[in-house]
Amino acid sequence: MSSGREPLIERYRMFSEFDASTLDEVLTYSLSDDITARGFQATAGSEMLKGYRPLFDAAVVSKMNGNHLIGKTNMDEFGFGMFSVTGTGIPRNPFDPERSCGGSSGGAACAAALLEGHVALGTSGGGSITSPAAFCGVLGLTPTHGRISRYGQIDGVSSMGPIGILASKSDLLRKYLPLISGKDDRDPVSAAQPELRIGNRKLKTAAVPKGITDNVSDSVRSAFEDSVELLKSMSVSVEIVDMPHLKYAMPAHYVVSVTEAATNLVQYCGMRCGRQDGDLSLPFNDYFVSFRSKYFGTETKLRSIMGTYMTMGDNRRNMYLRSLGARNLVINDHKRVLGEHDVILTPSMPFISPKIDDAVRMRSADSYMTGRFAAPPVFCGLPCLSVPCGYSDGMPIGMQFISDHWDEDILLSAADLWEKAFDMKTAEVRS
């Protein structure tokens, strides 16, 4: 064993019981805590699910057979958050431990940033891979909804929220995406996919939505603009495009995601799995209320309430169904642009990672709106890739590539291209 690997093995110790020194080649993976694996607790970041040990492996775990699963990573409760501060543990940013990892798959991005050769699988119901990838300075690939079987994934939302890959090198994305994608009878949505074809198509054209850098921080704007120039210098033609319905994406995504979330959350009532330490002599309604009031975090309660409200009375038509209609408009906007361009480019997040204390104090609505670049593609089921594209105050800044449904190929090409052109920094572990 070469001495150059000692620091890496040390880093593994920070993450798990797993002894990396036993391996000739350190190739390991982790799961965000909403993906099941036999023998591991799966809480999806929720106190409610403490003690839940599923008796089945997620589809991705079966497909990763032969690789070493070293553990589960922290996340926002049921994926509800952009900074990984609503779950059972708060991961710290590898570039600055006082700052957030982003979220909801924050722990996954942290592991990907610190562990060389590590593949962190996370999930994204609304930008939850792009956000932490940007804040932790790693690559984050969110595939098309349905590309990877979601069997074994605990649903926060349902009509979106694919499993994706966070890693520090593009060859890891290239190696592991084909390994874990494919149809699975246990997830009907995965049956919709055409075969994943990797043809190394060259990235030629990109579109930037008009006004996309309005209201982002100066450092993000200048990093994004520099990156666009860098792409142009690599003979990628970049055009500004109009996407008139993009303004509906965030409100409509919120309505659809909280509505689905509210129905996914109704099952958590102190029966069958997770917390069950209640008084069974209570009438069932009181029994259920006691668990939901005690073990759900604030953000989860808020989404349950909002989601319930969105289908009550006239809201079902005016909010829920209308938002589903708006989703079609937003999808069509993207499809129209992607019919003429290989990718759409946006910043990943509007600013660099905030201090954890500030993230905790942030109002839910403000926190939600920080996902305004990261959430729309996921809402549309479109694949996207976040890459580091600059640094400010030592903190990474991310840029996002969005491609058409099922076209992960062009994103892998973009990752390769970008990795060659841009000098990515490795996080120094500070104590």
């Binding site: 009907p188 949505v189 099952q267 069932f284």
Partner: protein
């Protein structure tokens, strides 16, 4: 009086609706369960093809229109027997919409028929409840009728015929493992009550009758009917008001995003549906000019007998078909039933010989019977001659029977009884009955 029914039919699939657990045959509670039908976080529903096919067949039986595309919805209710606390059901796009069912001339509108999953079953126990999730995820079709039924008796009659049709069309075994449950909506005045979860036809009629009387009494005494859900107490034979649920009606249906959509019209085009007994009886009346009673009698004996009738009618004409089907073929149906398909041409050949005058009707009758039972014709002839003699002897011993028989056919029963006793099972009872009648009929002519 207006009555509308919601009929829940458990479908005869091998597996549950959204997981591969066996649908029947559990020896004890919670034996046929898996993480899927237990709603364990991380599992996903996967729709059973057979449930869709059966749903289509029922929609057709009820003359419903089938949508081009259908999907599923989540309907929330909090109860310990429902694992996900939402039921996967159909809201906007039921597999069958706006159908109708004819009870004789009476039309009963069908509002909709939709696919959904059953929850588990539970009972009270000392300080809490005990739940068995074997039933959780069983596929159901819920049939909702318009409020077109006008009496409890009619409701029972409707259900009797409907269930017979359903059993035939979807091959629903009557082994008792799969249940049929009915929610009964009834209004005597303008406001209605719903009696939930009634099992068994008799109970449906009883519950509705009790409700009709209860509502009538209230209205007569100047009271007002309160819209409510009630339960039927099978032991006390009364309906009682169910506890009002605090938040009922506050939850709406949302889409089920994990199942996608089904091109159900396209699937329906590939599925052949068996004709229901009732519509077959109606068709026989129309096509062959049969009396309603005769048509129903044939179909009710067996749909296969009715199919044989059709075969006869085409080859030998309606009169001969009726004569021989309701005569020797009906009386030997039990022996014929399983060979009906292979023997049908042989049977019509015999009748054609009769039509050509090659044999008389006694010979024809005997040939048919011999062909059906495989008995030797000569010994049959001898047997028949012996039986003939025995019956004539019995009549001679009790000559007043002939006069009595003129007034009342039942008088022949004493002769039949005597001969049966004497022959101790040597002859099939149907033969004794038939021959006795034949002889007595000759005597009084």
């Amino acid at each position: 009086m207006k009555i509308g029914l919601e009929i829940h039919v458990q479908l005869p699939t091998k597996t549950k609706m959204f997981c591969s657990c066996p649908a029947v045959g559990a020896a004890g509670p919670n034996e046929h369960i898996c993480p899927g039908c237990m709603g364990m976080p991380g599992t996903r529903p996967a729709l059973n093809r057979a449930a869709v096919d059966i749903g289509i067949k029922l929609a057709r039986l009820l003359n419903c229109s089938i949508p081009d595309v259908m999907w599923f919805n989540r309907k929330i209710y909090f109860y310990p027997d429902l694992c996900r606390h939402y039921q996967i059901t159909q809201y906007e796009t039921p597999v069958g919409l706006k159908g109708e069912y004819y009870l004789g001339k009476k039309r009963i509108g069908i509002t909709r028929a939709h696919l959904e999953e059953d929850p588990g079953s539970m009972e009270r126990s000392g300080d809490g409840s005990l739940v068995d999730y074997n039933r959780s995820g069983m596929p159901l079709v819920e049939i909702v009728t318009d409020p077109d039924i006008s009496s409890p008796a009619e409701a029972r009659e409707f259900l009797t015929f409907l269930l017979k049709d359903i059993r035939h069309v979807i091959d629903l075994p009557s082994d008792g493992e799969r249940s049929i449950r009915v929610d009964c909506n009834i209004s005597v005045g303008t406001e209605r009550c719903e009696v939930k979860n009634v099992t068994g036809l008799k109970n449906v009629e009883r519950a509705l009758t009790y409700e009709a009387v209860r509502q009538t009494k209230i209205l007569r005494s100047g009271g007002r009917i309160v819209r409510e859900t009630r339960h039927y107490d099978e032991e006390r034979k009364v309906t009682t008001a169910a506890r009002k649920k605090e938040y009922e009606g506050d939850y709406a249906y949302i889409g089920e995003p994990n199942l996608g959509s089904i091109n159900v019209r396209r699937i329906a085009d590939r599925i052949e549906t068996k004709e229901s007994p009732l519509s077959m009886a109606m068709r026989l009346q129309k096509e062959f000019g049969l009396e309603e009673k005769a048509a129903k009698q044939i179909v009710n004996t067996s749909v296969k007998l009715a199919e044989l009738f059709e075969h006869f009618a085409r080859k030998t004409g309606k009169e001969n078909a009726l004569k021989w089907i309701s005569g020797p073929i009906s009386s030997n149906w039990r022996s014929l039933e399983k060979d009906a398909d292979t023997k049908k041409d042989g049977l019509t050949d015999i009748v054609v010989r009769f039509m050509n005058g090659e044999i008389n009707d006694v010979e024809c009758s005997m040939l048919l019977k011999a062909y059906i039972t495989g008995e030797d014709l000569r010994s049959m002839e001898k047997n028949n001659a012996d039986l003939d003699a025995l019956i004539r002897k019995a009549i001679a011993g009790n000559p007043s029977v002939v006069d009595d028989y003129r007034g009342n056919e039942k008088a022949g029963n004493s002769i039949i009884g005597t001969v049966m006793k004497e022959t101790r099972g040597a002859y099939p009872s149907s033969d004794i009955v038939e021959t006795t009648k034949k002889i007595l009929d000759e005597m009084i002519r």
